[in-house]
Subunit: 217 residues, 2 copies
């Protein structure tokens, strides 16, 4: 093998193997949950020896924790900030679309997060409360301002947000059930559009928000 093809920078192997391991772990934790996931399968999926995983991560829990933080970070960067001058149809439509897209493109991430919350967030609990407290308060305030300004019906902002979360994440977390019901084994581009348009129609109209022209979608 030519020297030129070898990783040249220090820590290159480390970086590459961490990525392999994280990808393998993401699948394993999504498929089995924290308690069902075993290091042996993670190693196998990553193509490394089991003991070697411990050269990169101190423990199974540390590996899980790293994944959870990555997921939350990825989530945050996917969903931009909003403010009260923005148009509700615009903002909520874009948010629904981004969430559906995230679910269909990152089902494993969504499942890991769902499993963690389902068990009462034993690992990520505090971290989340700090992080989401502000985020949520900001959005609730904007929605309340929209209501005050007569831009939409008087619906409880928290429950509206929960509705968007639950309906969009459902397509990742419960994809087994959804796919069984639809009689398909994976989502298509058409499914994405159908899901997005149905959710957007019902939620926006249900909140008394006038939709934008089709061009804006």
């Amino acid at each position: 093998m030519a020297i030129a093809s070898l990783p040249s920078k220090t820590g290159q192997i480390r970086k590459e193997n961490e990525i392999l391991i994280l990808a393998a772990a993401e699948q394993e934790f999504a498929d089995r949950g924290f308690d069902g996931a075993v290091m042996g399968r993670i190693a196998k999926r990553a193509g490394l020896a089991r003991a070697n995983i411990y050269y990169y991560f101190n423990s199974r829990e540390q590996l899980y924790w790293r994944l959870l933080k990555n997921i939350v970070a990825k989530w945050n960067e996917s969903f931009p900030d909003i403010n009260r001058e923005d148009d509700p149809a615009n903002i909520l439509g874009a948010y629904i679309k981004a969430k559906v897209k995230f679910s269909l493109q990152n089902p494993a991430a969504s499942k890991i997060f769902a499993g963690e919350i389902l068990r009462g967030a034993p690992i990520i609990g505090e971290y989340l409360e700090d992080l989401y407290g502000n985020w949520l308060r900001g959005r609730v305030d904007v929605i309340e301002a929209w209501i005050q300004a007569g831009k939409m019906d008087r619906v409880d902002p928290h429950h509206l947000i929960f509705m968007i979360w639950s309906t969009t994440q459902h397509y990742a977390d419960f994809d087994f059930q959804v796919k069984a019901a639809l009689g398909k084994d994976k989502y298509t581009k058409e499914d994405f559009h159908k899901i997005t348009s149905t959710l957007t129609h019902i939620i926006l109209k249900g909140c008394g928000i006038k939709p934008l022209e089709d061009a804006a979608l």
Copy 2:
């Protein structure tokens, strides 16, 4: 101890202990998932010796399976049949209300089911496909008939049903997150009404269904 106070009928002890064990197991499986649940804690919660659990159930998996079947049965009996002559507002409103009620009253059951689906339904898979196939087809047909009759907007029936499932079950499955966001440690009667009325408002209006008078709710 007086003889009269002892269980008189054969199998009485068995019946009582099975109930104790199932209740304990329901909590344990809801809190920890199938892989995280351990027989030791189930026994402790039930107030029995660990080995004694095996006198009543052959294995952890059998116990889990019994619970899942109970949950599905309970679910079915909670939600009555519908047909195309019925009024959409009436039927969907009642269904949403019943689902929210079920979630708030039986969070453990909902969580066990959610955990099973999240993992790809490894245990209950086939059983479900048989059971839900017909159920779902029936509802989809009715909703399509309502659309044909001009009683509601042309929204995809499958996605409408998923929306009702996801939004209502969210309050059980992700109660940790919801309660943290709302700043409370349990749901009140007021929460129940707020949730039900918000979901009903958005979903019915979003589908272009005229609500009934308040008296009917």
